[in-house]
Amino acid sequence: TENTTKNNADKKLEDISIMLDWYPNAVHSAIYVAKERGYFTDEGLNVHIEMPADTNDPLKLAATGKVDLAISYQTQLLVSRAEGIPVVSIAALVRHSLDAIMFKKESGIDSPKDLEGKNIGYPSASVNEAVVSTMVKNDGGDMSKVKLTDVGWDLMSSLATDHVDALTGAYINHELVLLQKDGFDMDTLKLTDFGVPDNYELVVITGEKTLAEKKTSLEKFWRALTKAQEDVNKDPKASLKILLDHEIDSFPLDKDVETESLQVLLPLMKESNIPFGYQEEDVWNEVATWLYESKVLKEKINPKDAFINIISK
């Protein structure tokens, strides 16, 4: 009733917070565009952007309602649901896997079988182990001959200093670009080529409680973001500039790196005939099944509970 009495200009904006998966980078361009161009305000939203301390914080904090929305990983969302954390995915931000096995060309790796006798670095997550295992087995290799090393935070430097021969859990739009920029001749193995189902790498999630309480606001958010994403698609350069400008004072983001990153990302974020963010049940089923079979999930979960489409097809 309030809204009807007041005009749009001084309408009270609703606060919505979103926690990024990591620090601002090209993948978040749309969020900054929407903010900068007032798409959020048009929808009556005042969006706060937060950054996490740990990659799992977005899940936990969305579950507790400390933030309304968060960007997380599809696989990780399934894992957390299996742990009883009440989070739901409402939209797919990146529709394909960004993960890949990457290595220096000189290491002579052609297919996952060649990883036998090699040392692979990964960032302490069970999913990464499952990825390697699936790929090696699919390629007819012997997983027991592959050495996996948890390298913690140091994906890039562990490869650069040759402490590991290959990486998994590193992104083709970030680590790969940076390594190449530092002069390493890199090559990758695509996950989907060797039996790992394609997944929605990044999804936008919310807590079950928040979903029940603020569903319309979340829809508004997504409408604004969709509009911004269209802008990004149309004019990546300008959009990126908004992101870079936003950060320029404090953090000189590397323009070349982010430009290349966005180039990699954009095709993976859209799909013809499917609205931005729409999630297919099949993809969720495949990923959940694969995770269960790879023993990452200890119990079977119903993928239907894990997501809800906030936009219809």
Binding site: M19, A53, S250
Partner: protein
């Protein structure tokens, strides 16, 4: 002027040593014996600082210093109060000491959601981490110092009808100072590190945040620019506390 001169004389050796290190690293990096993305050339770090000095100093350093100041103050006051409480009450000692220990065994990262949950994304989450990291040395230093009071002196005051409180003020406190200052010096350093770590728990400014982001972008110059500034500030703070220590313990020189 005179003070500056004395300072230079005192630290000339360190400056010499640092310069040698500086050129050694520069040389090693230039000769590509150390990869520049792991340890950057000192000159490029300096270039980075000069280039970005405005946001580095006014935005990030000032944010970190604010967190540091509040956190350090709380730590010092809280740590002293805790130590005093433990000193006066055996019961409290038996409860608090183990509890303080337990708190120190908790990895901050595991607690990060808790900090955020309780303090949100305000400055208070960073202050909380700062306090969390820096109050332990203060508690231990102050408590061990208070306990070390010389029996004979205490008896003398008590014979004059001093209450426990009086002997505490007139004797235990002066006698605790050396040990307390040891702890305080440690705490200063840890508080600064704590503010830095606190900024990882979701911040949008501060040197810790800056260095972590730069690290995510494999920008080693940026990381070391932040570290360099932090280090300089840390040394200055340490020197400041040491100077106060010297003043407070002036009688030691007689």
């Amino acid at each position: 002027m005179k003070q500056i001169k004395r300072w230079v004389r005192t630290y000339s050796l360190f400056i010499l040593f640092a310069s040698i290190l500086f050129f050694l690293i520069e040389w090693l990096v230039k000769k590509e014996m150390i990869p520049a993305f792991i340890i950057p050339a000192p000159t490029s770090v300096i270039a980075m600082i000069i280039e970005n000095w405005k946001p580095l100093i006014f935005e990030h350093l000032s944010a970190t210093m604010l967190e540091f100041s509040i956190g350090f103050l709380i730590s010092v006051i809280g740590g002293i109060l805790l130590a005093v409480w433990m000193f006066f009450s055996k019961t409290m000692e038996k409860i608090v000491y183990p509890a303080v220990l337990v708190s120190q065994m908790m990895p901050i990262i595991a607690l990060s959601p808790i900090f955020v949950l309780w303090f949100g994304y305000t400055i208070w989450s960073k202050v909380a981490v700062t306090v969390f990291i820096s109050f332990f040395p203060i508690v231990v230093g102050a408590y061990d110092g208070l306990k070390s009071g010389d029996k004979d002196y205490i008896e003398l005051l008590r014979s004059m009808g001093a209450t426990r409180w009086h002997t505490f003020i007139k004797l235990n406190i002066p006698m605790a100072l050396p040990s307390f200052f040891s702890g305080l010096k440690l705490a200063t350093v840890y508080a600064l590190v704590g503010a830095t770590i606190g900024e990882w728990l979701g911040a949008s400014e501060g040197l810790g945040y800056y260095s972590r982001r730069m690290s995510g972008n494999l920008n080693a110059e940026g990381v070391f620019a932040a570290i360099t500034i932090l280090t300089i500030v840390g040394i200055l703070l340490f020197a400041f506390i040491s100077a106060i220590e010297k003043k407070a313990l002036f009688w030691k020189k007689y």
